[in-house]
């Protein structure tokens, strides 16, 4: 392990990779700040650019983009009360009131220090937990992997659906169905291509991500007439106010950081939960344990109320790398996109990654520390300048997002069919999103589809076609029970919701 960490440090601290982290954090902050464009779109936009890179550098860049985007989302939450990322919605509860009373600089500093602390503490947990879990997961068999992926799909449908579990399950099934288009990996039989040569290799995941997130988000800005009322002059240092914190304020933040970084990391590790749930839970948790006087401040510009979600969402981002790096199973939509990127580099994440390609495994972990430092020392002082991006009018922003999305997909295949297909998918996703069908389950279903089929095939062949493997192996049995519990919980919540109505 020490040798692996050393390889990781050497890889991550090379001049080229430090530059990658800086570029990633910077680009992520800018993209994350734009309304609607979250880490998924930001990472998807990076994929075509990173094709010529070695996998470690590409992953380091994408990880930088990930927490950069979360940081950027916090900035727009605080300054204009329009979170660019769902994970920073709860940041606006206390960040925006602080900005309104002329403490925007202080709010941004609290967000940056909390993100730094949350990300760094969680990276230490990751350093300890990932190798242990990787060792345990070596005992996993196909049946366990199949069960684990089903848990992942069910939990993302349950957690990311905002009470629309059935719609999320429809999207999961739709994503799985899209994954079956093209050649079957074992028999080479072509399925659902309808004789179209462009579909024989299957649907490109970059295309699907760009269409369902970046492009449909650009359409959505026009479709719902979303307006951003922010002028470049609002980002001046005078208007933002001081970024210095007093001793008392730091004292108030420290215990909150300690508690919510653990909470955020644990929630991030759970498949499907991610930064959004972690930040809401942390805000609610801190509010519930606060004394009466502090409780009244929550939602009106409380330092604790801002520290909690900011720490938790960054800790959760780091935590979501645990299942990705150790089991090869993404815990969130964003890590699903990263998994797709890794697979396209020919890297198979999972327990063997830790043994066979330690430079990728450890370099990503070590680069998280560097990324957190970069965000703190580079992005925070630059906020008055970066925030001016919020002043870009939508009639310039939308065509640029459409252009980058189309170019991102076109550069992979140089096939005009992909552009037509992407435009159609984006239009369909726009309608589905308007009807409250969540998109992350579709992406996770699509990316996990191939792996689920492969593992189910092996498990069924070993068990003579019987599904009894689900309750015969202890790991599978535990996961099977978890699946049943998730479904029962959703049914219970559905019934309660109806009774309340």
């Amino acid at each position: 392990m020490i040798e692996g960490i050393w390889i990781g440090i050497n890889t991550a601290f090379s001049g080229y990779n430090i530059f990658m982290v800086m570029i990633g954090c910077f680009a992520g902050t800018i993209i994350g700040m734009l309304p609607g464009l979250g880490p998924m779109s930001a990472i998807a936009l990076m994929i075509p650019i990173t094709y010529g890179f070695d996998p470690a550098s590409a992953m380091i860049l994408m990880a930088g983009v990930y927490y950069g985007a979360i940081f950027g989302g916090s900035t727009s939450s605080i300054l204009i009360n329009a979170p660019g990322v769902a994970g920073t919605v709860s940041t606006s509860f206390d960040g925006y009131p602080m900005a309104k009373r002329g403490q925007a600089g202080k709010a941004l500093a609290i967000a940056a220090y909390s993100s730094f602390a949350g990300g760094t503490i969680a990276a230490i947990f990751l350093l300890i937990a990932a190798p242990q879990l990787a060792k345990v997961s070596l005992s996993f068999q196909s049946a366990d992997y199949f069960a684990l992926m089903c848990v992942g799909l069910l939990s993302i449908a349950a957690f990311a659906s905002k009470g629309q579990f059935l719609k999320a399950m429809v999207m999961t099934a739709f994503g799985l169905a899209l994954a079956t288009v093209g050649q079957d990996s074992l028999s080479d039989i072509t399925r659902f291509a309808f004789g179209n040569i462009n579909l024989m290799d299957g649907i490109s995941f970059v295309l699907l991500v760009m269409a369902t997130f970046a492009m449909s988000e650009a359409f959505m800005i026009i479709f719902k007439k979303i307006e951003i009322n922010f002028k470049a002059s609002d980002a001046s240092i005078d208007k933002l106010g001081s970024i210095k914190l007093s001793k008392d304020e730091v004292k108030e933040m420290v215990p909150v950081i300690g508690r919510t970084s653990v909470l955020g990391f644990l929630v991030g590790v759970l498949p499907g939960a991610g930064a959004t749930i972690a930040s809401f839970l942390a805000w609610g948790f801190e509010r519930s344990i606060a004394n009466v006087k502090d409780k009244l401040k929550f939602g009106k510009g409380s330092i604790k109320g801002l520290t909690a979600p900011e720490t938790a969402n960054n800790a959760a981002c780091t935590g979501s790398f645990v299942p990705l790096l150790t089991l090869g199973i993404p815990g969130s939509g964003t890590t699903a996109v990263m998994l797709g990127a890794l697979l396209s580099f020919g890297v198979q994440p999972g327990p063997r990654l830790y043994v066979e390609q330690p430079e990728i495994f450890w370099a990503v972990i070590v680069s998280m520390y560097i990324g957190n430092v970069v965000l703190l020392i580079l992005n925070l002082p630059l906020i008055p300048y970066i925030a001016r991006i919020l002043a870009i009018p939508k009639n310039i922003l939308v065509p640029l997002v459409l252009f980058f999305s189309v170019t991102g997909v076109y550069l992979i295949s140089f096939n005009a069919f992909d552009i037509y297909f992407m435009a159609i998918v984006a239009l369909i996703s726009l309608v589905l999103r308007t009807l409250n069908y969540p998109m992350p389950p579709l992406i996770l279903g699509f990316i996990l589809g191939g792996m689920i089929e492969k593992n189910l095939r092996r498990a069924l062949l070993i068990n003579d076609g019987s599904f009894s493997f689900l309750w015969e192996r202890p790991i599978s049995l535990c996961l099977f029970i978890l699946m049943i519990l998730i479904v029962l919980l959703q049914i219970y919540q559905g019934i309660r919701k109806r009774q309340t109505k």
């Binding site: 010529g52 059935l166 169905a177 719902k224 007439k225 640029l400 992407m422 239009l427 062949l461």
Partner: protein, 154 residues
Amino acid sequence: MGISYTRISALIFLLLFVIYSYLAGEIKVFVFDENADFNARTFPKLISYLGIIVSFLTLVLSRGADEPLGKYEWLKVLVLFVLVFTYGVIIKSIGFFISTNLFLLVSYYYLGLRNYKVLLLCSIPVVAALQFMLHGLLDVYIRDPFLQLLGIIS
């Protein structure tokens, strides 16, 4: 049971999954694989069952009225959709540089940007910088007859 957009969408999904199920049964598999425990049809069949069940439940259990869809900017989105589609049609024939600039200029103009200086500054330098980054720095080749004609790229 009233009609709502959610119910209509669930019905469409239900029909899609029924068709998908039928097509899954039509997948040609090898003769020796026909009665195997797992063949190329198995997984699509299982997905179709899941899809049929959940879309049927959405159809039956969804309640409450949707917000009206008519208040949104359908026309503008459709025009943008057509512009993206057209961009796809012309990108191969007239090359990346001109087609992208055309796409950006027309989109900006359609969305209400009338300042010609901004129009040009937000298109030509952006496309040129991206193309330089891809072609010159990252070695990603983009075929472009126009720039080839000018002798800028080989």
